[in-house]
Symmetry: C2
Subunit: 211 residues, 2 copies
Amino acid sequence: MPTALEKARQAPDSMKARILTAARKLFGDYGYHGVTTRMIAQEVGIDISTLHYHWGEKQDLYEAVLTDLSDEIRTKLVEIEGLVHGKPLEVRLEVAIDVMCDHLFNNSDSAHLMLFSHFAKNRITTELDAHFTRHLANIAVAMGLAPDKAHVPPQANARVLAVWNSVVNFAAGEDLFRPILNVDRQAYLAVVKETLKFILLPAFTRKAPQA
Amino acid sequence: MPTALEKARQAPDSMKARILTAARKLFGDYGYHGVTTRMIAQEVGIDISTLHYHWGEKQDLYEAVLTDLSDEIRTKLVEIEGLVHGKPLEVRLEVAIDVMCDHLFNNSDSAHLMLFSHFAKNRITTELDAHFTRHLANIAVAMGLAPDKAHVPPQANARVLAVWNSVVNFAAGEDLFRPILNVDRQAYLAVVKETLKFILLPAFTRKAPQA
DNA sequence: ATTTGATTCCATCATTTGATGGACATCATC
DNA sequence: GATGATGTCCATCAAATGATGGAATCAAAT
């Protein structure tokens, strides 16, 4: 039973998929309330009716975008886990930072969407919160911060969140941060990776935890 | 020449100040496009006309909110600098984390507004970006990452940003993160402080920087 | 008491926005 | 070629939204 979303992904040039892509970009740029159905339709070059025909209400389309995003993140985390399986924690962290940075810098929509969906008080999508919680639990286990997915102490989740947010912020904030750093795109990506490793590696890899 | 904003702050019960406070809360909750002038007026218990009479266009009111926020942050940073003057870096960081966390957790509007204003593509307020840049430069100098405010290398700004964003994220994301950690408000604040220190202190206080 | 200025609300407008009904087109199947 | 299903657009609606004009209210000064 392929969902409408899966079908859309199977045919990336289908109208339904094109609408989803445009919606994702615009919602990422301006947030839910900052985007009108007419903006999305115009981005695709179609009439509003066509948009409603494929996706129903604006709210439904937005939720489809977030579901799509959640799937994308899950896929990426699985990919990372495959890359670093069995490696020591320091390597795992380095690779995870590199891969997630590369991905989010090439898909800044994703980073923006994540911020909007997490921090806006809109917050209708309780199902996606469960996915996010699972993602965090998986990372916590992978980092050796929790014995298993079902028993993740608050401290472990908090540490994973700190790492996660750091990466997402630098990706989503490029428009503001890069002019401040006064570097080009490539240098920004390099500085961000270096900074994240500078901040995160010592905390998680030192031999004797303090206090 | 006291600005309208300063006058409003001098009389916190004035209509103008009450409108500003309500606007700040609502813009923080729902973002610029998610708030209508009617919502703000209703929150204050007045007519829309009264709102426009005092603050003009919606856009002007929003910019006043952001200016107010910028002043608040500057004040807080000065306060912190006074508290830790002359202390070693480790103490500076700990105090800064404690004070900023306490402040932002008691003023979550501020944290939300900061996120919205930094990451939304709206981004009209170029003057406030300059203030933010100055704040970062001051912190960089205070942390010994730059020789003076005029010469802050990209790496230094990036590190300050990493610290800054971490604090703001935990404050703004309480609604989503606290249920995930499954703790009450007080415990959340404690875990966040502990986590931030766990992450940040080793990076900036170790004796022999790696790589 | 009158004047003056500041403040607030009511009524209203023009535009925007989400959404829908129905006409037209395309195309596979019979 | 007729038929039905699918997809697209045009015209339009009702509600929401930003904004304003003008009347009413109030307080202080004259």
